[in-house]
């Protein structure tokens, strides 16, 4: 059971400004049914350019509904200039805080607001679109968005980033990339907390090398393949030759060769040793595989 503040409960059970404004000046739509929460914000300006009325419709859990309700309360009476300064922190603080794992609800509120303002400024033409490189493909989160939540909320771990914008919360295949973004922004502060990546040792015995390869496959490679219904198995290591077999969808996939070089070999070289090269086990490719669809 979540520990919600009385304010969250109040805004969930008695939300303010539910609905949608007819002929609104701005519309902001973010999230989707598939993602588990979605918010449509509409607002109307008065003749002085201040937000006269704002309404919301939200699909989501209690905190998603409560943050939407608070968002509309916070922006009413503000000019667009003032409203655009509202951060996800402001929303969460107004509610007396949210559980860490629910912080993404407050970020969704801020995103909807931005989308609605953008929509207004483009004369009602522009809809919310993803900008720049998508890092988390499961939830469609861009590098720009991740950078922003890290800065605005002073985040230092991947887990925190997931709590704030969902990135990394699906297959987990992008966790390494998120780690790098945190490091880029937070510098030394991030490094103290990071422990996820395997430590590369100077000289390895055969047993240490094999264990490190297995660990790299387990932590850095398999999660990404699993997300696409595939899998990988370490068959053997002969000198610098690492023999693996693809399973599931990967075994039939035309892109498997690309994955082999670009993902498997690259990661193993990065985390174990640059001399290693990867080959696919031909025999086991003939075996029936695990059909995950």
């Amino acid at each position: 059971m979540w520990e919600y503040t009385d304010k969250v409960k109040d805004h969930f059970f008695n939300p303010k400004n539910v609905g949608q404004i007819e002929n609104p000046d701005g519309v902001g739509e973010v999230g989707s049914l598939a993602c588990g929460d979605a918010l449509r914000l509409t607002f109307k300006l008065d003749k002085n350019g201040k937000i006269q009325d704002a309404k919301f419709k939200t699909f989501g859990c209690a905190s998603a509904i409560a943050t939407s309700s608070v968002l509309t309360e916070l922006i009413k009476g503000k000019t667009l200039e003032e409203a655009s300064k509202v951060t996800n922190r402001d929303i969460a603080d107004y509610l007396g805080g949210l559980p860490e794992q629910k912080m993404h609800c407050s970020v969704m509120g801020r995103e909807a607001l931005e989308a609605a303002i953008e929509n207004y400024r483009s004369g009602g033409k522009k809809k919310h679109e993803l900008e720049g490189k998508v890092v988390c493909t499961c939830f469609g989160v861009t590098e720009k968005e991740i950078e922003r939540v890290i800065r605005e909320n002073d985040l230092t771990t991947v887990e925190e980033v997931t709590n704030y914008c969902k990135a990394g919360g699906g297959c987990g295949g992008c966790k390494g990339e998120i780690e790098k973004i945190i490091e880029k922004i937070q510098g030394e502060k991030a490094k103290e907390k990071q422990i996820a990546a395997p430590q590369k040792a100077g000289t390895l015995t055969n047993i240490q090398k094999i264990q490190l390869i297995q660990q790299t496959i387990n932590e850095q490679i398999r999660p990404a393949l699993r997300a696409h219904g595939g899998n990988i198995e370490l068959i053997d290591v002969e000198g610098n030759k690492v023999i693996v077999a693809f399973r599931g969808m990967c075994a039939q996939c035309k892109l498997a060769e690309f994955t082999m070089k670009d993902v498997v070999e690259a990661r193993i070289r990065e985390f174990v040793s640059p001399e290693l090269f990867v080959e696919e086990d031909k025999e086991s490719a003939q075996q029936p595989h695990n059909h995950i669809t």
Partner: protein
């Protein structure tokens, strides 16, 4: 406000008669059953009695019962113990819809070089036995398939699967935590090698479980230490738990048919009323092959946690397969494996009943649900009026 408890697949109320049996074992009869003195020795007899009671419900020999610390421990012990006893075989077959106590163990084994095959289910949550048959080979150490699903109540054809698997000389384990006490068993006439039970799912106490191990099944002990449970599970016995579980099994055996009929009637009544009064909802799982107490319903366009919180206001307890309730970001792995669309999975609610539920409670819940669903749909951007 009265509590209406429709969450019996999560845990159940301890039967008063079970609790009565447990009470003296804390402050009066607190001896260690392994002791040489009479004070401790009399406790060993109570454990023997409990073993007979459990064996009675399962239809097996008392010597085939190992008491454990719960369903999760039973599953861990069965899987790891069977693999340790067959070091030359490196493949495990399971399903995509198992409880985490099995699925997480299997996925961890993958990190230790095992090949894990997760069988698919169809839209109704049913297995394709042809797929299983294709996967069985000389490298397969263990097949572990749950008896009945905790989220949807869907029952797998376990006897048929056990026959198929053991015929090939492969060990078969089933997590029967949700099935025992609801489905009659006779393990003497069965090919099941190992079966897990949890005490608190059948009106017994928490923290105690059973692993049935068919005589002759090769299994390495998982918990090492003293010689308890004939060396198969070390550690001083949880005496009150074991005695309570024994009594709970005895009660289940005596009342299984009668209770199932009553509970099924209540479940069907609840389900029909909800489906009739709420538009845009769907039943998840095979309607015909289902536990008598479980109903898993998806309410489209709204989210499960919000529904649960609204129900909670009225003292109604249920569960959801939505992402938000678990703290993860993706909805239930069971519903996803069945291909339930995300839209419906996020709005799924599980009602699970027991013999303690009444017609009045069903009527009360039936009355409260439609306004809650309507209220949340008014908030949803996906519902266009």
């Amino acid at each position: 406000m009265e509590t209406v408890y429709f969450d019996n697949n999560a845990t159940t109320k301890v039967d008063e008669r079970v609790f009565e049996q447990m009470k003296p074992l804390f402050c009066e009869l607190y001896g260690n059953p392994s002791s040489m003195h009479t004070f401790g020795g009399q406790i060993a007899r109570k454990i023997s009695r409990a073993r007979e009671q459990v064996a009675g419900l399962l239809g097996c020999e008392p010597g085939e019962i190992i008491f454990t610390g719960g369903g999760t421990e039973s599953d861990n012990a069965a899987i790891k113990g069977a693999l340790a006893a067959a070091p030359n075989r490196r493949k495990v077959i399971t399903t995509r819809v198992e409880h985490p106590a099995v699925l997480a163990v299997c996925r961890d084994l993958e990190n230790h070089g095992y090949t894990i095959v997760e069988l698919n289910v169809d839209k109704k949550g049913r297995l394709d036995l042809g797929e299983l048959d294709e996967q069985l080979d000389e490298n397969t150490a263990l097949v572990t398939v749950m008896y009945a699903n905790n989220e949807t109540g869907v029952i797998f054809p376990i006897e048929q699967i056990a026959g198929l698997v053991t015929e090939r000389g492969i060990t078969f384990h089933t997590d029967a935590v949700q099935a025992v006490g609801k489905i009659p068993l006779n393990l003497k006439q069965s090919n099941i090698d190992m079966l897990s039970i949890s005490g608190h799912k059948l009106h017994g106490p928490k923290g105690v479980g059973v692993l049935f191990v068919h005589k002759g099944t090769r299994l390495s002990p998982y918990m090492l230490g003293g010689h308890q449970e004939a060396g198969r599970r070390a550690g001083t016995e949880n005496v009150p738990g074991i005695v309570g579980l024994g009594k709970a099994c005895e009660l289940a055996l005596n009342n299984i048919k009668e209770e199932n009929e009553k509970v099924k009637h209540l479940r069907d009544k609840l389900e029909q009323a909800i489906m009739k009064n709420c538009p845009d909802c769907r039943l998840n799982g095979d309607k015909d092959n289902r536990l008598p107490n479980t109903s898993n319903i998806s309410f489209e366009y709204i989210e499960g946690e919000a529904i649960l919180l609204m129900l909670d206001q009225y003292g109604i307890c249920a569960s959801s397969g939505s992402a938000c309730t678990s703290g993860s970001l993706e909805p239930s792995h069971v519903l996803r494996a069945m291909g339930v669309p995300f839209t419906a999975a996020h709005g799924s609610i599980r009602f699970s009943l027991s013999r303690y539920n009444t017609e009045d409670e069903v009527d009360y819940v039936t009355e409260k649900i439609p306004p809650i669903i309507n209220r949340l749909r008014e908030l949803s951007p996906f519902v266009v009026k």
